[in-house]
Symmetry: C2
Subunit: 366 residues, 2 copies
């Protein structure tokens, strides 16, 4: 019902799911409490969400939008990360806490952006292609940063350790992309010899869960493995089939993730002046970081298109919330700071559609 | 992998899933243990399994095969129930235990039978239509018996209590069939006005879970509500769409149910001579009850077709296992007797395809 209401208000269903979680959660109505089984459903939900995002990420398409998109992605990662880190360290937070908040500011939500561009009927325009390419690249960068940060959070802080974790995260990513993609192509070619029902779905989901477990096992986040598993299958001939099959499974499990994430938000706590102020400051930096960083990188396209690109990169969604949730579960960030990150995700998601519509209306059609 | 192996050995995938559960379970390898989250997944899995079975159950089709199918179903319920009850009481078991075992012998597995008939290319023949009609009717009878038995198991044994539980179960069933079907038709007609993705799937799954919770709330088994919810949508114009959407969700969750059910089987315990003997006796009565009961009811079709019908009604599957699992979780039946019921389900499922193939080959084509 919340999803339907949001759709009618021209908002993403995700917004409704988080708000329902806040409402039903232990901090307000108390209808849902911290329960193991809900958390397990939520965890499987986010694994499948990232698997689906991976399935939509074609390596060759990313290479095609190439230069500009990469520049937009890199500057759009560096600036929000730097601004977030500076703010949190300036406020006297611990380094690990500051790093987690900064990481949560990094990744644009491909899902939300793609949905808005499709609704505007502009998904094929030049800024749209750059936005989608850059959003995919910064998702990968965000996951690598998350891998590094969560590796660091486990042990002591040293340059050797940083180097090792970066190397491990990069090695895993490159290995799965290179070997995984070949393996996925070879597997896809032989799937029709299996006699079980819907073999492409069964085999790819098994590999997704296997790679997630492997990623957790070597100290990375499970979602990194799920995303890479999806990416490995993105360009196989079974990709469309797997995507279609995942739709219903996602429709069932993904909302549980966002409801559970919403339930963790202490809304009365968020409404205390000092926390609300921090939330507004973080949100302002999140917006400034993307609009300035991405806009700068896309400046050669002209002022209007550069602004469209910057605004299109604003919404943060699943990856940022996942980062915050991991930080919360490990005791690295507090309930207050978790609420601040969710606040930032909600606001950037809520204001993007209207702003993007106005900016795109002024930029030339493709 | 187990599913694939079973398919190549011309067995149902369900057999492979139960055997994998036995192998990985705490009584053998110990790779999976009693965990809350696995049980929750299994419970949701069986809810969706019965919802899917319900979606394939058309009230009008049942009325069309009418007389013979009803006679086959009723005699095929009464004889195994009576034989099972007599055996268990004769062996000195408690009345509630004997009632649970007898109930587990009642319901033919529509899923397994339908799959075998389709594989034989004879799904449209006269015996096939009677088998499918009767299997559906005995599923409903089985669920009503289960509702009555589990209601009885909660309190003291009295004729007033039996009457109340029967009345409650019948009232719930009739109410959902009559009101639910009208409501489902009306809802289906308006689903295209919703703006969320795949509204038919979202709304029907929500109603399925809601009716399951309601059934549990008034003391019936949750699966009764799920089955009736499916049946309510079976003849709406969205039925095919919902069935297709449920396929992937079922592919993911239903195997977990059968693996968890398998894991509860104490295989070393089952192999003790006295338990194995009981298992063989129960299996023999399960086979005799259906072949004699259903064959007798279908005798006017001629000896060969009557035999085909009797054999086609033999396999017990999900409903029998669910009955046993409910009995086990409430402490009404022991681990040994649970293993006996699973043994009976496996054997009747394993031997049906080959026997049915031979019987059908001799009976005239439709």
């Amino acid at each position: 019902m919340a999803g339907e209401i949001c759709r009618r208000l021209h908002q993403s269903e995700v917004v409704g799911e988080i708000l329902v979680g806040m409402l039903l959660g232990p901090h307000l109505l108390g209808a849902i409490s911290e329960s193991l089984s809900l958390n397990v459903f939520a965890e499987i939900g986010v694994i499948f969400l990232l698997f689906t995002v991976g399935l939509e990420t074609r390596a060759t398409e990313m290479l095609r939008v190439g230069g500009t998109a990469t520049a937009v992605a890199v500057l759009g990662v560096l600036l929000p990360f730097g601004l977030g880190l500076a703010l949190m360290l300036g406020l006297g937070e611990k380094t690990t806490t500051a790093l987690f908040v900064a990481t949560a500011l990094v990744a644009t939500s491909v899902g939300i952006t793609a949905r808005v561009l499709t609704e505007l009927g502009r998904a094929a325009s030049r800024p749209a292609r750059i936005i989608l390419g850059a959003a995919v690249i910064d998702d990968i960068l965000g996951l690598i940063v998350l891998a590094v940060i969560s590796g660091l959070a486990e042990g002591k802080f040293s340059f050797l350790k940083i180097g090792l974790v970066v190397a491990e995260a990069l090695a895993f990513t490159v290995f799965v992309i290179v070997v995984g993609q070949r393996a996925a192509h070879r597997i896809s070619a032989h799937l029709n010899r299996l006699r079980i029902a819907n073999p492409a779905f069964v085999v790819s989901v098994a590999l997704c869960l296997g790679l997630s477990a492997l990623a957790e096992h070597i100290g990375l986040a499970g979602i990194v493995g799920a995303f890479l598993a999806g990416m490995a299958f993105a360009e196989t001939r079974e990709a469309a089939n797997i995507r279609r099959s995942m739709e219903e499974v996602s429709a069932l499990l993904v909302p549980i993730f966002f409801v559970v994430m919403g339930a963790k938000v202490d809304l009365p706590g968020l409404l205390r002046p000092e926390i609300l102020l921090l939330g507004l400051a973080v949100t302002a930096l999140a917006i400034l970081g993307k609009v300035a960083g991405c806009g700068l990188a896309a400046f050669k396209l002209g002022k209007r298109e550069a602004l469209s690109v910057g605004i299109g990169m604003m919404p943060r969604g699943e990856v940022g919330i996942v980062v915050a949730a991991i930080g919360l579960s490990r005791g690295i960030i507090s309930n207050d700071i978790y609420a601040v990150v969710i606040f930032m995700s909600l606001i950037t998601t809520l204001i993007t559609p209207a702003l993007l519509k106005r900016a795109m209306a002024r930029s030339p059609r493709a």
